[in-house]
C-alpha cells in the first residue's frame, strides 16, 4: 500500500561553482515569498519564475513536477531540473542511507533500486523519475526485520 504525501517543492541544487545559479536562487526565493501559499522549504512550485508566455510551455520551465514512489510512499514534488535523484532523496526526503561519494558514477555509494534495477542516483536526474518506484537502503526492511544489507 502506498501513502500519498502532500506535494512539496525543491529548490535548485546547492552547487557554489556555477555562475548562473546565484541569481536564479535569489529570484526563486523572492518569488516564493510573494506566493507564500504554494511554497515549501524555500522552493517554489514550477512555473512561478516564468513570464506569462513561457509559463504555458512546460518544456521551457527550469523546474518540473514529478510523482514517484519512494519506499512505498507516493510523493509529488516540484524539482529544479538539475536536481539529482540522490539530492532529492537525501536533502528533501531525509533518506540519508544513500551516500554521496564521487557524485560522478564511479563509486556506487549512491546505489538505489529504480523499478527493481540498481542504478547510480547521482547520475539520475530526479525530473526523469515520473511514475517509477525507488527503493533505498531504508526501504529494504521487511516490517521490523532488517535486511542483511542494513
Amino acid at each position: 500500500m502506498s501513502t500519498d504525501l502532500p506535494e512539496s517543492a525543491v529548490p535548485p541544487p546547492t552547487d557554489s561553482s556555477e555562475p548562473s545559479s546565484a541569481p536564479t536562487r535569489r529570484t526563486f526565493i523572492a518569488t516564493s515569498t510573494a506566493v507564500g501559499g504554494v511554497v515549501l522549504a524555500g522552493g517554489v512550485i514550477g512555473g512561478t519564475l516564468l513570464g506569462p508566455e513561457e509559463a504555458g510551455a512546460a518544456a521551457a520551465a527550469p523546474s518540473s513536477r514529478v510523482s514517484l514512489t519512494v519506499n512505498g510512499t507516493r510523493r509529488t514534488v516540484t524539482v529544479d531540473n538539475r536536481t539529482s535523484l540522490l539530492d532529492l532523496l537525501r536533502e528533501y526526503f531525509g533518506l540519508t542511507g544513500s551516500k554521496k561519494g564521487c557524485n560522478a558514477g564511479a563509486c556506487g555509494a549512491c546505489t538505489v533500486l529504480v523499478d527493481g534495477h540498481r542504478v547510480n542516483a547521482c547520475l539520475t536526474l530526479a525530473v526523469r523519475m515520473e511514475g517509477v518506484e525507488v527503493t533505498t537502503i531504508e526501504g529494504l526492511a521487511d516490517g521490523d526485520q532488517l535486511h542483511p544489507l542494513q
Binding site: 556555477e18 520551465a61 529544479d80 531540473n81 540498481r118 547520475l123 536526474l125
Partner: protein, 326 residues
C-alpha cells in the same frame, strides 16, 4: 550545472522536431549528466528519449543482429542472441563500467560517449576538443591513458568505449534518422579521427537520432571474444584491449575480424593483422607473426611508450584465447 529545460518525447517524430530546434537527446544520462555537472556540456534543452520504442534486439533477415539504440548495456550483454552469436559484444559490455551504470547506459549513448581525457573534463585546462583553438594540455601533460594511433597535433585523446571496439571489429553499421529520413553509416565512418576538428567526434548531424546498431552476418562457426587490459580490475577504462572474431573451417582461418581499443583516437581496426591470418592454420607462430606490425605508425607520447608493445601482446593473447592454441 547550468539550468536547462526538460522535455519528454514519446515518438521519433516528436524527438526529431525537438532535436532540430537544438534540443539535446538524453538516454541513460551517464555521460551527459556527468559532463553537465562539470559544465563541459551546457545544453539548453534536454530531450528525454527513453520512452521511444528503440529497446529491442532483433535478428535481421540476413542472419545478423539489430540492437536498438535504447537497449541498455546490461540488456544487450544478457541477450541470448547476442551471447550466442557475438560473445565479443557481451564480453566487451560486461567489462565496461559497473552493473549500476550498465543498467542505465544505452548502446546509442555508449557509442556517442565523449573522451575520458582528464583535461577535457577540467574546464580550466586547455583543450581543443572542448574549446577549439585553446591548445592541448595532454600533449605535455600526463598522457599515460592517451592514444598512439590516429592522433593529430590538435588532440591525442582515445575513444573510451569498449563495445565500440567490438562493433569496429565486426564491421557494424549505425542506423540514423534525421529530418531528411534514414541513413546508414559504416561504423568506421561513424566515429571521427580528431584531425584539425577534435570537437567533432561523430559523423552525426544536428538533431539526428541513432535508432540502432546493426551487426552483419558472419560465416559460422564463429568464435569471438574481448580482452581488456587495465590498471585495476573494475571501474577502469582500457589501457589496451582487443576484440577478435575468427571463422575456422577445415583447420584453416577463413575469416578474421580484429580491432584494438585504448590505443587509437577511434577504435582501431587492424586490417594487416586480419590479412595475415586468413588462409593460415592456427598456431603459436602464426599469432606472433600476425601481430608483428599491429602497432605500425604508432606515435607514443611521453607517458605511454609502453603502449605499442602492450598492444601487440594484448592482440596476440586474445588471438590465442579465441583461436584455441595454447
Amino acid at each position: 550545472m547550468y539550468p536547462f529545460a526538460y522535455t519528454r518525447v514519446s515518438d521519433t517524430r516528436e524527438a526529431l522536431n525537438a532535436g532540430r530546434r537544438g534540443g539535446r537527446y538524453i538516454a541513460g544520462g551517464t555521460t551527459l549528466v556527468d559532463l553537465m555537472r562539470e559544465t563541459v556540456e551546457r545544453p539548453e534543452t534536454l530531450v528525454d528519449i527513453s520512452g521511444l520504442p528503440l529497446r529491442e534486439v532483433t535478428a535481421t533477415e540476413r542472419g545478423g543482429l539489430r540492437i536498438g539504440a535504447l537497449v541498455t548495456m546490461s540488456q544487450a550483454a544478457a541477450d541470448r542472441k547476442v551471447r550466442s552469436l557475438y560473445p565479443v559484444i557481451s564480453e566487451a559490455l560486461e567489462l565496461s563500467a559497473s552493473a549500476q551504470l550498465r543498467n542505465m547506459a544505452t548502446i546509442g549513448g555508449n557509442i556517442m560517449q565523449r573522451t575520458r581525457c582528464t583535461y577535457f573534463r577540467d574546464v580550466t585546462a586547455a583543450c581543443n576538443k572542448r574549446e577549439p583553438g585553446s591548445g592541448c594540455a595532454a600533449r605535455e601533460g600526463f598522457n599515460r591513458m592517451h592514444a598512439i594511433l590516429g592522433t593529430s597535433d590538435d588532440c591525442v585523446a582515445t575513444h573510451p568505449s569498449d563495445v565500440a571496439v567490438a562493433f569496429a571489429a565486426l564491421e557494424a553499421s549505425v542506423h540514423l534518422l534525421g529530418p531528411d529520413g534514414e541513413r546508414t553509416l559504416p561504423f568506421a565512418d561513424f566515429l571521427l579521427r580528431p584531425g584539425s576538428t577534435p570537437n567533432r567526434e561523430q559523423a552525426v548531424q544536428r538533431g539526428e537520432l541513432i535508432t540502432a546498431v546493426e551487426i552483419p552476418a558472419l560465416p559460422r562457426p564463429l568464435r569471438s571474444g574481448y580482452l581488456k587490459v587495465r590498471d585495476r580490475q573494475s571501474y577502469e577504462f582500457a589501457l589496451t584491449s582487443a576484440a577478435v572474431a575468427l571463422h575456422v573451417s577445415g583447420g584453416v582461418i577463413r575469416e578474421a575480424k580484429v580491432a584494438a581499443g585504448g590505443v587509437g583516437t577511434v577504435p582501431w581496426k587492424l586490417p594487416a593483422v586480419e590479412q595475415h591470418l586468413v588462409g593460415e592454420r592456427p598456431s603459436e607462430a602464426l599469432w606472433a607473426a600476425a601481430v608483428a606490425r599491429a602497432a605500425e605508425g604508432a606515435r607514443p607520447l611521453r607517458h605511454n611508450r609502453f603502449k605499442p608493445e602492450l598492444l601487440q601482446r594484448t592482440v596476440e593473447r586474445q588471438l590465442r584465447i579465441v583461436g584455441g592454441t595454447k
